[in-house]
Symmetry: C4
Subunit: 207 residues, 4 copies
């Protein structure tokens, strides 16, 4: 089983999902992509109805434990009596519902935010080998990563995401905020995120 992979029929995400989410957070925190308590990750643990395990709000993302995860529904609501899900859990739910992704990662890496600032209409990438790691072709395949304005209303963000959604672009840039990337599981989401971040550093560096 790959990191964070959960049995979709399982009632409780269980400790292994929590451990996987905490480990991924620690990795991203060490890369400087989850400064402060920023960013949040989720794994889909049920499809019908949609349920996600998402990292809790307000904690240092380099110091999470397997217990710092909370179950939410598609709208990001929980009936957990103690743990508070990330405020952005509803957007995770929306992305998982629309894209069919099994894992969604949201980090505050710098290059995506600088790239979005320079290209508010969407960041075009083309003819770059690293696009293969993003699930696309290295040649003759224009990828436009959508940019949406920042908002604190997850329905507004979700509507903007859905309006620009294309099944072949597993990422969303939120202007002056950060980046969302998704995949079948945490490992695929990680690889797509790492490749996209590289691509955006390249774009920022040469422009």
């Amino acid at each position: 089983m790959r990191p964070g992979e959960a049995d979709p029929g399982e009632a409780d995400p269980g400790e292994h999902v929590g451990r996987a989410l905490a480990a991924e957070c620690a990795r991203y925190a060490a890369m400087g992509w989850m400064r402060g308590t920023s960013g949040n990750l989720s794994v889909v643990v049920g499809r019908d109805p949609l349920r996600l395990a998402v990292t809790v709000s307000g904690k240092d993302k380099g110091e999470l434990t397997a217990d710092d995860v909370v179950l939410v529904d598609a709208a990001g609501r929980t009936d957990d009596p103690v743990r508070v899900p990330s405020a952005e859990a509803a957007l995770h739910g929306r992305i998982a519902a629309v894209s069919g992704a099994g894992a969604v990662v949201h980090v505050h890496a710098l290059a995506p935010v600088v790239a979005a600032e320079r290209s508010p209409g969407g960041v075009g990438l083309r003819d770059l080998e690293m696009l293969k790691g993003f699930g696309r072709h290295a040649h003759d395949d224009l990828v436009v990563v959508p940019v949406v304005p920042n908002s604190q209303d997850m329905r507004v963000l979700g509507d903007a995401f859905e309006a620009g959604f294309r099944p072949d672009v597993p990422a969303l840039l939120v202007a002056r905020h950060g980046v969302y990337v998704w995949g079948d599981d945490l490992l695929q989401a990680r690889h797509r995120l790492e490749c996209l971040e590289w691509l955006l550093r390249f774009e920022v560096g040469i422009s």
Copy 2:
């Protein structure tokens, strides 16, 4: 108890404050924010009268032990027969007294100094999600981080700090020197510092 949290009525800051300060220094040193022996951190250990535990002067900040902390009063003076407090202890005291902060961190990260150099009248930040990690709003909330000229006289620095102090801006940029950030405890100060440093890297990167 969160890292570095001290009982305000405690006579001796005790080893746990020293351990917490040494661990935070090691973290910042690894990030390149305490090069040489630069920077200093403090925790308030008494309010009436004000007393702080502050890192000692002149040591490698990546190699402090729990013992490399010295108790000072509001003016940065100690009666410790051996340990020498940071020369900037008096500014820590002034910040703690004026702001009511429980912890003050001062590091020599590069982006704050570059940002202050470009904006000597104060660095304006607005409409950025990371401002939430600094205790402010992500929208329609202009944050101006004050910049004061560098000085070796802590009264001069303290007066400049106090003249520009606003309770809702928990940071001070000292031109051609470094940044001070404060919070209720070391963890909140860390999160605010990490978010501010990200924001200033963003500002420097797009300008």
Copy 3:
């Protein structure tokens, strides 16, 4: 025996080659040069006929084990029933055949790709001490690192490599893709790669 050194007459590259390749990958991954599953390394394990041990395709390069290596011939083909060699194994084979190298490393460091973008006709380096670590002289010795267009056809890439090959330039820049460096063994290839990456960061930084 230096890391990754193999007895050329040995039938099976054995676990020590796998361990050495995994360790080198982990090192480069930690440096940010193998983001996602990008990059691949190889060691020559036989000369007549040419055979290489090359890292497998599609895995996280920071998490390889000694088993994630596959034997290929000069054209990058394997008869391994399970493991899939990197798609670029054939270029490794071509480089090893033409240059006589014992190890070939291919990473997606950023500076080489930015340098190639700026100098598509080849990147000239001269009068820099670090050229000694690349096997050249620090003075009066112009080194032109060839740049070839990216391709998914390893014969096309291989022909372009061979057309520009000079025995005294142990590196190849693939535009909008990454860099290949080779040497007698993994350690020499590492040192040449590290020096070349430094040189290209210098070039990019001052231009």
Copy 4:
């Protein structure tokens, strides 16, 4: 005893000097300042006549052991039957003789080389707090770090160093090559180097 401190009357530098030099090299290698096999460090182990323990040539500086050190005289010559001193040992000797330093560190950090490229007549630094960590004043004290042209002849480099030597500037920039910094011992040299590198990154970043 501080790291790398040796009894000047001791016949053999002993294992503790080797361990200290190896540990400092590993630290600088991890910071990216000793890529490939570049850079070299030394500690004075005798004054009359001058003798230094210097790191050996050609090894990966992140993987040295306590044994990878060789004793040399003021001209960088050794009678060690096995170990080869760094080619730059003679410049270490010259610097130690002229400056009276107890330790000399030479690394290939990038910012010093970029700064030297932009200011071939010497890099001026003034009114920066970090100058205190370099042994100077934070205000009204112009520090000019000399730049000398690169050479493979250590007498030429040594003469150029001596011609520009001032007792209050414990550093030398070698154009298109790297930086030398010295101090009473390895720890002071480290702190001065870290502060100078910060200062030069600041200069490069704002110019």
